[in-house]
Symmetry: C2
Subunit: 695 residues, 2 copies
Amino acid sequence: MLVVCCGVFGALAALRADDGYRLWLRYDRITDEAARSAIAPHVQAIRFATPQAEDSATLAAARQELATGLHGLLGVVPRFQSVAATPGADLGDEGFQLQRDGGTIVISARRDIGILYGAFDLLRRIQTRQPLAALNVTSVPRIQRRLLNHWDNLNGTVARGYAGGSLWNWFTLPDHVDARITDYARACASVGINGAVLTNVNANARFLTPQMLEKTAALAGVLRTYGMRVYLTARFSAPVEIGGLHTADPLDPEVRMWWAHKADEIYGYIPDFGGFLVKANSEGQPGPQDYQRSHADGANMMADALAPHGGIVMWRAFVYSHEAPDDRAKQGHQEFAPLDGKFLPNVVVQVKNGPIDFMPREPVHPLFGAMPKTPLALELQISQEYLGCSTQLAFLAPLFEEVLDTDTHANGIGTTVGRIIDGSADGHSLSVIAGVANTGNDRNWTGHPLAQSNWYAFGRLAWDHTLASSTIADEWTRQTFGNDTRVVQPLTRMLMESRETVVNYSMPLGLHHIMAEGHHYGPGPWVADLPRADWTSVYYHRATGQGIGFDRTATGSNALGLHAPDFVKRYADPATCPEEFLLWFHHLPWDHTMRSGRTLWDEIALHYQKGVESVRSWQTTWAGLQGAIDPQLHAHVSALLRIQEQEARRWRDACLLYFQTFAKRPLPAGVEPPERDLDYHKNYQPAYVPGRDGA
Amino acid sequence: MLVVCCGVFGALAALRADDGYRLWLRYDRITDEAARSAIAPHVQAIRFATPQAEDSATLAAARQELATGLHGLLGVVPRFQSVAATPGADLGDEGFQLQRDGGTIVISARRDIGILYGAFDLLRRIQTRQPLAALNVTSVPRIQRRLLNHWDNLNGTVARGYAGGSLWNWFTLPDHVDARITDYARACASVGINGAVLTNVNANARFLTPQMLEKTAALAGVLRTYGMRVYLTARFSAPVEIGGLHTADPLDPEVRMWWAHKADEIYGYIPDFGGFLVKANSEGQPGPQDYQRSHADGANMMADALAPHGGIVMWRAFVYSHEAPDDRAKQGHQEFAPLDGKFLPNVVVQVKNGPIDFMPREPVHPLFGAMPKTPLALELQISQEYLGCSTQLAFLAPLFEEVLDTDTHANGIGTTVGRIIDGSADGHSLSVIAGVANTGNDRNWTGHPLAQSNWYAFGRLAWDHTLASSTIADEWTRQTFGNDTRVVQPLTRMLMESRETVVNYSMPLGLHHIMAEGHHYGPGPWVADLPRADWTSVYYHRATGQGIGFDRTATGSNALGLHAPDFVKRYADPATCPEEFLLWFHHLPWDHTMRSGRTLWDEIALHYQKGVESVRSWQTTWAGLQGAIDPQLHAHVSALLRIQEQEARRWRDACLLYFQTFAKRPLPAGVEPPERDLDYHKNYQPAYVPGRDGA
C-alpha cells in the first residue's frame, strides 16, 4: 500500500485574491511603522469648517470615508468636529482648504461637497506618504463640469466599452440600486468628477419616458451624495418617437413646447438634473438639419427648455457630412465655426480632442480657438477604442496632457486648449470637460487592471489641467500598489511609456485611421473601396510609390489653414513640424530625411520595431514584480501583456509589409523580419471584438 | 462658533459587505463552539483512497478545497494522505465513499473526480452540521451527464439571462482565463455538475472556427480539473457558413466529411470534448428538413462524426411546425415519436420538461415514455424566463421534483420521468440531464441572491433525482446563511412556497402562456392577432362567455391522448384530473364546481389573490430577518420582494380584469379590488426586460 503524505496544502491564511474592485481607494494598513507614526499624530481629529451648519448626507459620506480610511491606513479612530465657519479664501462651490491645527486636520469649504473633496485629498496624501506636518493646501477646480460620458445602452451593452456591460441596472431600478453605484460615485468623487451622462450618444428616446426617468432618479439619488449630477443624451427625434408629434423641427412651437414640458417633467423627478448631451446629424442620428435648421437652432431649442431649471446643453461637434468630398478633418470646423455667437448662454459645443476620431495621436481640433464666443467642452476618450480595447496598456494622461497643453495661438502665445476649456482664455463662466468612460461591470471596473489609471487620470486633469502626467502616474501607482519604490518606479515607467508605445506600433509619425474594417482593434492599412472614402485607410495614409502622408497644408486640403497663423507657420514646414505629426500634415517621399538623419521609410520601420520592443521590456519588468503584486492581478496583467506583444507584432508586420509594397525598400537593420506574409494579415480577422453599438 | 462633535462614525471594523460571490461555498468559522468541537476531532486527517496512484490537478483541487474549508469552518489544518486502493463498492467513474477511521476521514473513489465530489460532500455535511461520528456514505450519480446549458452569445449577451452578461470572456481568451472560471467550476463540481454547453442553442457557426476552438480549449483546461467537460452548440448550416460548401444536406458526402474533419479538429484542441447540442428546424434555425431529411438524418450525421472520439449529440425536440394548425403541445411528439429507434447510440433526444415552453407549471412532455428505444435527456430551465426573470423569488426544486417524480405509466406504474432519464426504465446506458443556466457575470452570479438555490438544486437533483426538494432547500439555506434555526426555518418556508406562489399569481389551475407580447415577464392574457395563433395568449386560455381552458382531451385536440393510457385515464376526467392541471386539459364553465365547493371563477380569483398574499407574507418574514442577514444582501432581497409584490398584483389585476370581461361575475370576497382598469394594464409596457436573443 503506497502512502503519500502530502502535508499541509498551500498558504491557508492567504489573503483573498485582489480582484481590483477597490480601485485606488485602498486603505490597507501602512506596514512601514515609521511612516505610520509620522502621520498618525496629525490626524487624531478632523474638523469640518463650512458655513453650512446642518449635517448632510455628503458630510456623513466624508466622515465615513475618513473613518474607514484613517482606521484602515493608520489604525486611527479620528474624532470629528463640525464648525460653522466661512473659509478665508475664495473656494467657489467645490474648492477646499486643508490645514493642520495641532493633532487636528481642518477641512474648510463653502459647501459640503468641498469637504468631501478635501477628505479624499487628505486620504490621497496619506496613501502616497506626503508629509502632513506643514499641511496648507488650497484647491479649487479649474473646470466647472467634469463629466464622464457613458455610452451605455438600455439593453445593458456599452458602445466602445471593453469592461463588460453597463453599470446601470435598468431592469430592477428604481426599487433596487446596486451597492456598486455607491462605490462608483466614491471613485468619481475621489478625483473630483461631478457628473455623468448615463446614456449612449447614439440615443434612445425611451430614456426620456416617465418609467425611465423614475429609474434615473433613483440613480441620481445615490450619486447626489457624492456631488455628482446626472445628465442624459437627448434623441433629437424624441418628440416624434415618444411624443406623438409629426415633426421634431426645432422651430415648430409644438416641438418647443414638448421639450419645455419634458424638461419640467425631468426636473420633477431629478431637481438637480444636469442637462442634455446631443449627437445630432452625425452618423445617422436625427437632428435639426433634417428640417433645414442649423445646429444652433437645435441646441437653442433644448437650451430654452432647460434654462428655467438651470440645465445645460452639450451639443457635439463630431459631425462629418455625408456629401462633402472635402477632408473629413475640416468638416467639424466648417459646420460649427460659422455658428460662433449664435448659441444661447447655456449651450456648450463639445469637441473631440482631434478632428478625426480619438486616434492614438491627433493634432488638436481646429475648433479650439475658432469659436471664442462659445464655451467649448473638450471630449476625451478614456475608453481605448483605438488603443487596444482594454487588452493593451495605454496610460492616457500623457495624451490628455498633450492636448490640454497644446498652444492654439488663438489669442496669441499661451492660448492652450486647457485655457480655452476652462473659460479663462475667452472669459466664459460655463466650462465643461468630458471623458468617454472606460468603466463596465467587470469586477475590476475597467477590464485591463491598469486601465483604472485612465479613469483616475481623467478626473485629476479635469480638476486641474496643469497637473503633470508623471505626477498622476506616481500618485495612482502608490495608491493602488503601495509605496515600495521597487514597484512604483518600474510601474510608473511602464505607464509613462505606454501611450507612445501604442502610437509607435500602430500609427507612428502622424499616421492615423488605418485600422481593419469592422472594428477598431487591429491593423488594416489596405482597407479601401468602402461606401465612403473617409471610412477607408488609404484615404488617410495616401501611400504611393513616391511617398506617404496626407498633405493638409495649403498645397493639399489645407485643413491646417483652419488653425491660427502662428500654429500654421510651425506645422506647415516639414522642417519645423513636430515629427509626431509629420504624416498627418504632409505627404513626403520615402527618402525624406528625418531629424535623425534616417530616411522616412527607415524611421517608420524603426518606430514600429521600437513599439514591439517596449512591450517586451514591460513583460520583463512585470515578470520582475512577481511576488510584490497580488498573484491573481499579476497573472491577469501578464496575460494581457502577452496579448499586447502579439498585437504589436501584428500591427508592425501588417503595416510594414503593406507599406513596403509602395516603398519597395528593405527593412532597416534592427527591424525583425515578418513571420507571415501580407496575405495572411489581410485575411486575418479577430474572432470577436466587443463594444460595437449593438453589443 | 457652533461646534458639533459627531463622535466615532459607524462600526469601523465591520466586515466587508457580503456580495454573494461565494455562493454556498462559505467556510466562515463555525461560531457554535460545541458544534465545532464535536466535528473537529474527526477531520484531523483526510485520506484519499483511489487506485489512481499519481497525484493529479483534480486531487490537488480536492486538497485545496478541504484545506480551505476545514481551516475556515473549524480552524483545523488537516493532514493529507493518499493510498492506492480499489474501493470495496461499485462506485462507477464518479461515485465516492466517505468513512471514518479514528480521526481520519477516508474518501474512496475509483477516479480522482470521485475524490473531489467526496470532498465537497464532506464539507457540505460540516456546513450543515451533520454528525460525522458514524459516517458511512456511498454516493453514486444516477445520471451520467449532468449539464448546464448556457445560452450565451459570442457578443457577451445571454439569451433569457437575467444576471448580467456571459461568464466567458471570449475577447481575451485564450491568453487570459478569468479567475472566476475556477470558481464557476468549483460551484458546479460541489453539486456534481460535470459539463457545460457553453453556447446559445440559437447557434453561431463561428464558435466552430479554429480561433474560437483555441479559446474554448483554454476554458476546457480549467473546467477539466473540476470534472467538467465542455460541449458546444452546432449550427446545422456551419458547413455552408464557415466551410465554404454549397449545402448542409446531412446525406451529402462532402457535408459528412466536413463534420468528420471538424470533429477531428475539435478533439485536437479539446481531447475530452463532450459533444454537440443542436436546435434544428425550430424557430428559424436551419436543420435537416431544409433538405427534406429527418431529424434522425441530421443527428446521425453529427453522431457519426463524433463517435470515433466518444462524443455525443444532444438533439433538441423543441420544435413546432410553422404550418401545422394542430395543438402546439402535440408537435414535438408528432415529429419525434415516429423516429424512435432511428437514432445512433450516441444520440440523445433532449426534451423540455413540458410540451409548451418552461411555463411555471406544465404537465410532463408526452415524449417521456413514447421513445423507449432512444435515450431521452430532460431539459429543465434554471433561468426564470417565465417566472419573473430573476427579480422574483421562485425556488425551482419543487418544479424539478414534480417533473422527475411524475409517473408516465409508460412501462406500467413507476415509470417516472426520473427513471426514463436515468436510463433505468428502458435499459439505456447513456443518460443526460440539462438545466438552462441562470448564471451571468453579476457579482452574485444569479441576479436574485436567492436564485443561487436554483443552480444548487439543479445540480443536486441531477446527481440524485430522488432527493426531496425540502431537503435541498434546507441544505442550501444552511450552507448559505448558516444554521441558526431562526433564519433556516422561515427562509426554507419561503423557498418551498415560492414556485407555487408564482403559479398562483400568474398562471394558476393549468393556465399557461398568457404573457405580454415582446417579453416573457408580465401578464398579457389579451394578446391576440399575431402572425401565428400559437404565439398568442387567447390560443392557450380560450376564455369565452361560457368558460375557460384548453380542451386537450379526446373531445378537443387530444394532446392528452399522446400519453400512456393510465395517465390519460386520470387526466381525462375533470373529476380526477389534478386541479393544478385542470385548465391545461379541460375547457370548463365558469361555474364548474371545484373540489373546494367554489365555482371555477371564484377559485381562479382566489388563487391570484393567494399569490399576492404569499409574497406579502414573505416581506414580513424577510423584514424579521434584518440583523440576522448581511445588510447589503438583506436590502437587495427586500427591494426584489417589493418588485415581486408589485408584479404579483399586476398579474392578478390584469388577468382577473380581463377574464372578468368573459366571466361577467363579481370578484369573490377576499380578493382585493383592482386599483386600475383593464386599459391601463393593456397599455402598460415595462421599460426594459433583459435577456432576449440580441441582448
